[in-house]
């Protein structure tokens, strides 16, 4: 009896922590209903917050032609399936699932409801009614690497990773390649928080990196905790996902800011026009899928360099993963994309480039 009660209570706990927000209140049959699944709370000031801004942009752009709903705090994995299906049953015809871990649940629901269109962020599985979209964040990381190498006095960068998945690994590699283009002997210390969001742990990681001699902090986790620690210690850092300058007015160098709004608006428009197709969109600086926050707290020459690099990447003149790319053991990585690594090689990146003096977890 006790056990079943506990199990029931646990199930209730899971269900209860997902909260629902309905933004546009009028209910009409001719409106397009668009649903969003969020990983964190909309107020996380990072990843989910940026998706929420884009949703608001959709509402603003289409007014009463659309009706949007979001579910926040949806855990990744099988639980997400229920949440997505809930949106389908509520009549949503276009559903954005905004985290890597929703990939399989989205695919499963997509197979079940062929007349509903799905958009999955940062995954690689598609179907006729399931499109994918993501950002070439590694372009921004390359610029950050160059800035970091210029700004570091100790020659040691501190990097807080979330999970060793290709997106994060390619970010570390791009950072190092950028940094090595300035200082070939640059070192990086990597700490995996094994969490996307745990402000306390992110702060502890930043402290550990600084205590071990790193003097520039970079993060691939979602809260501004690391930025705040850098600010407290008078060191510099890069923000993540959104503008974090408020937490380090004298510390933030720049930040990779996700700007999903143009894409979301384009896809909703396609749905309204009946031209929606399943596609794989991988945009970067050139399509403004993300933007760099203003370059601050750095000398003018560093700023100039960052702007030049950004312009070169935007124009397609500079490829962060330009061949030859050497792996950790000094072996050349096969070059499948002409003069640079092919997209699938970046999307599935599971090796460190030469110069990273660390072992990847699980390898």
């Amino acid at each position: 009896m006790r056990k079943t009660l506990l199990a029931a209570a646990a199930a209730f706990l899971l269900a209860g922590s997902i909260s629902i927000g309905i933004s546009t209140s009028a209910w009409a049959a001719d409106k397009l209903k668009v649903g969003f699944i969020y990983l964190g709370p909309v107020g996380d000031l990072g990843w989910t917050y940026q998706h929420e801004l884009a949703r608001q942009a959709v509402v603003k752009d289409f007014g009463d032609k659309v009706e949007t709903t979001y579910l926040e705090n949806v855990p990744e994995g099988p639980d997400a399936e229920r949440a997505i299906e809930q949106l389908v049953r509520a009549g949503n015809k276009l559903i954005f699932t905004t985290s890597f871990g929703y990939m399989d649940p989205t695919l499963k629901v997509a197979k079940k409801y062929p007349d509903v269109h799905f958009e999955h962020c940062s995954g690689y599985k598609r179907d006729t009614n399931m499109a994918t979209y993501s950002s070439r964040w590694y372009q921004g990381r390359y610029i950050q690497g160059q800035i970091a190498a210029k700004m570091s006095k100790s020659g040691v960068l501190g990097y807080i990773g979330s999970f060793p998945i290709p997106e994060v690994v390619s970010g570390i590699n791009a950072t190092m390649l950028g940094a090595q283009s300035i200082n070939p002997n640059i070192k990086v210390k990597i700490i995996w928080a094994n969490s996307w969001f745990d402000p306390g742990k992110e702060a502890d990681s930043a402290k550990a990196l600084l205590d071990q001699g790193a003097d520039v902090i970079m993060q691939h986790t979602d809260s501004p905790a690391a930025m705040q620690v850098a600010s407290e210690r008078g060191k510099v850092a890069f923000g993540q996902d959104s503008e974090m300058i408020k937490f380090g007015p004298k510390s933030q160098l720049t930040s990779i800011m996700d700007t999903w709004a143009p894409y979301y608006i384009a896809r909703v428009k396609a749905q309204l026009d009946g031209t929606w197709k399943s596609e794989d969109t991988w945009g970067g600086l050139e399509t403004k899928m993300f933007e760099m926050a203003p370059y601050t707290n750095m000398p003018d020459d560093v700023k100039k360099m960052a702007e030049d690099t950004q312009a070169a990447i935007t124009a397609g003149k500079l490829q962060p993963f330009k061949c030859p790319v050497m792996d950790q053991d000094g072996k050349e990585v096969e070059c499948k994309g002409g003069d640079h690594l092919a997209d699938p090689q970046v999307l599935g990146m599971n090796f460190y480039v030469k110069g990273i003096d660390d072992k990847m977890p699980g390898k």
Binding site: A8, S17, I191, D211, Q212, F247
Partner: protein, 305 residues
């Protein structure tokens, strides 16, 4: 040496919220009530604590707001489990859900704001001492308070008559009732104390640890505090060891990663939990006799009239 000092400072900061919340829960459980809502009370304490400090500009008022918020929330729990004799496990879990939702609502107004964190003690001459100076004389008030709290609770439980009565309620509420002690009232005070501590522990996070509020920022620390009371076999002294051990393993694994020691980070992240299990097994193996849990823990008491 400097690195060792930095590590110890981080460990103390990471352990303090766990210690405060677990101390409160220990008293609650010693009176026979299992309150699984620590996480919920903590996050509401964090939201109210930050809100109070942000509006008033005072860390002290912030901490006070956290304490009051945690206490109020625990009163809801007391009303359900003591007044209405509802199942404690279910009520505790419900309290956590309520707390997470409530904190988002309360905190929505000041997400993205920041405050000046709690000041650290500075005694000229002493704080500058090499190695031990900053560790002993350079902490924020919460760290000293948490240790005083444990000593106070220990004195109360084992050296006062009231503490003895409270433990009696937790071990056998029928006997305590038969002796004429107001079991339900005593338990209510214990639940309120637990709530106050959880609220303060939650408030510590935005007031001293990471000086901003974000929904969900307790990130499971309430559950760890619950595990710590079991780890400590309901004894205040062991709680201190447990909390600092837990903090130490958490921080050291980060440093081990930064130093490039080639152990998978996933394994190192699980070390604190592994350590808890190992110590738990070792403790129960070493002891003769049965469980040390308060005998009436988690059971509902309805006084006969």
């Amino acid at each position: 040496m400097e690195l060792a000092e930095a590590i110890i400072l981080s460990v103390l900061a990471a352990s303090t919220p766990l210690l405060i919340a677990a101390t409160g829960e220990l008293v609650t459980e010693r009176s026979g009530v299992l309150n699984l809502g620590v996480e919920g009370m903590m996050i509401v304490g964090a939201a109210c604590g930050f809100g109070g400090a942000w509006l008033s500009g005072s860390i002290f008022i912030g901490a006070l707001c956290g304490v009051v918020a945690g206490t109020l929330l625990s009163l809801i729990f007391a009303m359900m489990t003591l007044g209405l004799a509802v199942n404690q496990v279910a009520s505790g879990l419900a309290l956590t859900i309520l707390g997470i939702g409530l904190s988002g609502l309360i905190g929505a107004g000041f997400v993205g704001e920041r405050i000046t964190p709690a000041p650290h003690l500075h005694i000229p001459g002493l704080t500058e001492l090499p190695l031990v100076g900053r560790i002993l004389f350079g902490e924020d008030a919460f760290v000293y308070f948490s240790l005083a709290l444990v000593v106070g609770v220990w004195l109360f439980l084992y050296r006062t008559r009231a503490g003895l009565i409270l433990r009696a309620c937790g071990d056998n509420h029928i006997s305590a009732h038969a002796l004429g002690y107001p079991v339900l009232r005593i338990r209510m005070y214990a639940v309120m104390f637990g709530g106050a501590c959880a609220g303060l522990a939650g408030a510590y996070l935005p007031l001293a640890y990471t000086p901003f509020f974000i929904p969900g920022m307790t990130a499971g620390r309430g559950w760890i505090a619950l595990a710590l009371t079991v780890f400590a076999s309901w004894r205040p002294g062991r709680l201190v060891i447990g909390a600092y051990l837990f903090g130490a393993v958490t921080i050291l694994q980060l440093h081990a990663q930064g130093a490039g020691i080639g152990i998978p980070s996933q394994f190192m992240s699980s070390l604190p939990y592994l350590a808890t299990i190992i110590v738990l097994v070792a403790l129960s193996r070493a002891r003769t006799g049965g469980s040390t849990a308060p005998a009436a823990l988690g059971t509902v008491f309805v006084p006969d009239r």
